[in-house]
């Protein structure tokens, strides 16, 4: 069904989706490994160390970048899974819309956390 155009995928084309999936994957892999190393290198970490890390402007920006990457990555992934397993258009659209809404809530919540403490 290569010629069926879709309006619900993120980049309007498979190649754009593929690229966004990869770019966000690299961002998330790096962010995850760096955060893991930081937590493991600081056993019994104090509040000051933890809040000090997330209080840095660069950490807020990098974390926001990771959050945006989660949004793009999860959208492409969930779109792929829902289009594979849900053949009926309306329920599929509703599930995709719900996923999009959850993503939006995550994004707003994340920004509030990062810039609100």
């Amino acid at each position: 069904m290569g010629n069926v155009s879709s309006v619900t995928n993120l980049g309007r084309s498979g190649v754009a989706d593929w690229l966004m999936q990869r770019v966000s994957a690299y961002v998330l892999a790096l962010y995850t490994v760096v955060l893991f190393v930081f937590i493991i290198a600081n056993p019994g970490m104090s509040y000051d160390t933890w809040a000090g890390l997330f209080g840095q402007t660069w950490m807020r920006i990098v974390t926001l970048m990771a959050l945006l990457s989660i949004g793009a990555h999860a959208w492409v992934g969930l779109w792929t899974v829902t289009t594979d397993y849900m053949k009926s258009a309306l329920p599929r659209f509703l599930v995709q819309a719900a996923c999009g809404l959850i993503m939006f809530v995550y994004m707003v919540w994340g920004i509030q956390i990062l810039w609100g403490f």
Binding site: Y47, A51, V81, G110, I113
Partner: protein, 126 residues
């Protein structure tokens, strides 16, 4: 259609090849993390709300169910990360053939299981 085609509907004889299982687990772990983000954001929010909130997160993490949830999310994350790196290697043309693909699937599972066990030890030692 040729009605004499061999038909095998004995479901007990069907089995997924290993690369298919790693692929499905990649999807399942992704969905688990999509839900898990809510728990992680809740934890981040609470841990950054002040000394008291930070202490409350530490306290939560000493409970069995919180440990189970964190280990579950970490397991999904670690599996997804390892299987994802395999995909990035495949983008570079590594592990794409039938044989190397099977080896890559085995290596993915082995590394993921080791990391998940280590994460479990870590979470319960916290």
């Amino acid at each position: 259609m040729n009605s004499k085609r061999p038909v095998n509907l004995d479901l007990g004889k069907f089995h997924f090849p290993l690369p298919a299982i790693t692929s499905i687990l990649h999807r399942v772990s992704g969905i688990i993390m999509f839900v898990g983000v809510a728990f992680m954001l809740y934890g981040l929010d609470l841990s950054l709300s002040g000394e008291e909130g930070y202490g409350h997160v530490s306290e939560l993490l000493s409970g069995f169910f919180a440990k189970l949830i964190i280990w579950g999310i970490l397991s999904a994350l670690l599996y997804h990360l390892v299987a994802g790196i395999r995909h990035l290697l495949m983008d570079m043309g590594i592990g794409e053939e039938l044989e190397s693909g099977l080896v890559a699937a085995k290596v993915t599972l082995a590394i993921a299981i080791i990391l998940i066990v280590l994460a479990g030890v870590w979470v319960w030692a916290m």
